[in-house]
């Protein structure tokens, strides 16, 4: 199937713009968001205490599974052929492992952090 690979340009697959129309304004906007988000990330993470660094890593791992959005868009594109379907499905599967596993294990860990006055029964090994 010929025709432009539209979803390369802007967030949603229904975008009607062509790839070649990617202009300087769009490019600089994407880079702008990137740079600001990096600074925001640094400020946010600096405030996380060291005792929560493991949950932070597994939680941020889950967030990096956001790449599932790209995988879904590739899988759902109307001009997609067999190779792309396979590649995209694999991407969806791996990203899902990250998202589901990451959030669940973070929740499990954070559930273990208890304050002194809320320490549960002494033998309690929660799941």
């Amino acid at each position: 199937m010929s025709g432009p690979w539209r979803c390369l340009l802007i967030g949603t697959a229904k975008s009607k713009e062509l790839i070649v129309e990617l202009n300087a304004a769009t490019m600089s906007l994407l880079l702008f968001v990137f740079v600001l988000a990096m600074f925001l990330g640094v400020e946010l993470i600096r405030k996380v205490p060291s005792q929560l660094h493991t949950p932070l890593m597994s939680g941020s791992n889950a967030i990096s599974g956001i790449t599932i959005v790209g995988a879904l868009l590739a899988l759902g594109h109307e001009t997609t052929g067999a190779t792309v379907i396979v590649l995209a499905s694999l991407a969806v599967a791996f990203a899902t492992i990250n998202v589901v596993g990451g959030y669940l294990v973070t929740d499990r860990m954070l559930g273990m952090f208890k304050s002194k006055d809320r320490t549960p029964d002494k033998e309690g090994r929660r799941q």
Partner: protein
């Protein structure tokens, strides 16, 4: 309102949830809700994407999500807290691989449709595949080292850094060539050649990931895991540039920044530069420079240890990877409770690089129901170490090695440590006098106020608990 605008707004909402989720991670009281908030953000992003898809290939979608969700849920439920570093390492790799596949799938689609791809997007595809591929293969090596499937010690050979530099240069060169292949312009290598360049980047990325991780020793794994964490975020970020989607760029950057900060914290806690961690092969036999610490270690048994601990009113535990390896955290908590019932104050002093990933010890002790108020950092304990009656070191070595303060020739020189040697008495639980992972001898074992309690940490602690009960 047009659908595209609604989708865009929903992606903004999702990004806000991610930001708030990370913000709430700044305190143990709000952290769990923050994580749920972040998960809701992910749900919004995925639902929005499904709504935006031109066609949903349900069979493929359900199969892929079904497999991924079951594997993820099972792993999250079954993983032992001691194995958390390998699991996070592996998940980093999956994230990188997913982003790499996204870049590849997007390129293949455009390539098959003979569409023109903008140079900006070609560069983004190249970076997605390079970073994603390095993350994947590097994480597999880190996973292997952490789980013991491959030897944890550094694998070194002559000219290693040179070889890695060549491979990186080759990858970048191929990437530049790839980025210049515009379909509209007649090119010498044609579409097949352009596709081969892409395959070349994939291969080089995998090789680079493996070769750059094997020279790094087991004790430096916390740094590597942090770095790979950062890469997995940056790969997602690069994928965001490929599809021009801000939610990927924002979340990818947050993760990237998180990994970078953790990497910096780890390096600072070891007083080493990132370059030193990555390229020096620290912990190989080369680092073990003649012992030279003379003196006699004073071994004691659990009975004597009991007498010392029983008389103490201020006790600090300094746990290390050995506690995790021996699965001793529950026994340690039991002992700590007995000491507390005996009227003493108990704290756990946790060094930032103790264990195999940042915060590893905290999670293990939280699992054993230690309240988080008792988990403190070296700077909280060190200034008043003279007031501590007994410091109990459990399977930690380099992070309590006074050579970092006393011996300028030590590889650990300058590293901030827990000053357990300045406590009135220091009891070291250890299997033998062997040096730690860094292969550096520890003069702490021969100090006047140090007592060695040899044996398996869990068995020893259990024996101590028995003494308290008896």
């Amino acid at each position: 309102m047009n659908a595209e605008l609604v989708h865009g707004l929903l992606y903004i909402v999702a990004s806000v949830f991610f930001v708030l989720g990370l913000k709430m991670l700044s305190s143990p009281t709000t952290a769990r809700r923050g994580n749920i908030l972040s998960a809701i953000g992910m749900l919004i992003a995925v639902a929005t994407t499904l709504a935006a898809m031109e066609q949903v290939r349900w069979v493929w979608l359900v199969a892929a999500v079904g497999v991924g969700a079951s594997v993820g849920a099972l792993a999250a439920r079954l993983v032992k807290m001691t194995s958390m570093p390998q699991m996070v390492g592996l998940f980093n790799g999956f994230g990188g691989l997913a982003s790499m596949l996204v870049g590849w799938a997007q390129y293949h689609g455009a390539w098959a449709a003979e569409a023109d791809i903008h140079g900006f997007i070609r560069v983004a595809i190249f970076l997605t595949i390079l970073i994603g591929g390095v993350t994947f293969s590097g994480s597999l090596v880190a996973y292997g080292k952490l789980s013991g499937t491959i030897p944890g010690r550094p694998v070194l050979y002559k000219g290693q850094n040179f070889v890695n530099a060549i491979i990186l240069t080759a990858a970048v060169a191929v990437g530049i060539l790839f980025s210049m292949q515009e379909a509209g312009r007649p090119s010498a290598i044609g579409p097949t050649g352009a596709y081969l360049l892409l395959i070349g980047i994939v291969v080089l990325a995998f090789v680079l990931g493996v070769l750059s991780t094997i020279p790094i020793g087991g004790a430096d794994m916390p740094v590597v895991i942090c770095l790979l964490n950062s890469y997995s975020g940056l790969a997602a970020c690069a994928a965001g540039f490929v599809i021009g989607n801000n939610v990927l760029i924002v979340s990818g950057s947050l993760v990237g920044a998180s990994g970078i900060i953790l990497t910096r914290i780890m390096c600072k806690a070891m007083n080493r530069s990132l370059a030193n961690v990555l390229f020096s092969g620290f912990g190989s036999t080369v680092a073990t420079k003649a012992a030279g610490y003379k003196g006699e270690a004073k071994p004691i048994g659990p009975e004597d240890a009991y007498l010392i601990v029983e008389a103490a009113s201020n006790v600090v535990f300094a746990p290390g990877y050995g506690m995790a390896a021996a699965q001793a955290q529950h026994a340690v908590r039991e002992l700590a409770e007995m000491i507390e019932d005996n009227g003493a104050e108990v704290r756990y002093c946790i060094h930032p690089v103790a264990g195999r990933m940042p915060g590893h010890m905290n999670v293990l002790l939280a699992e054993a129901n230690v309240p988080y108020e008792q988990l403190v950092e070296p700077q909280d304990v060190n200034p008043n170490m003279e007031m501590v009656d007994v410091a109990i070191v459990i399977g930690a070595n380099d992070v309590v090695n006074p050579a970092a303060r006393e011996d300028e020739n030590s590889p650990l020189w300058g590293m901030p440590i827990i000053d357990v040697d300045r406590a009135r008495t220091c009891i070291v639980l250890k299997r033998s006098l062997n040096p730690g992972f860094a292969g550096v001898d520890n003069p702490l074992f021969f100090k006047e106020n140090t007592r060695m309690l040899f044996g398996d940490a869990k068995a020893t602690i259990t024996a101590l608990v028995a003494e308290f009960k008896g």
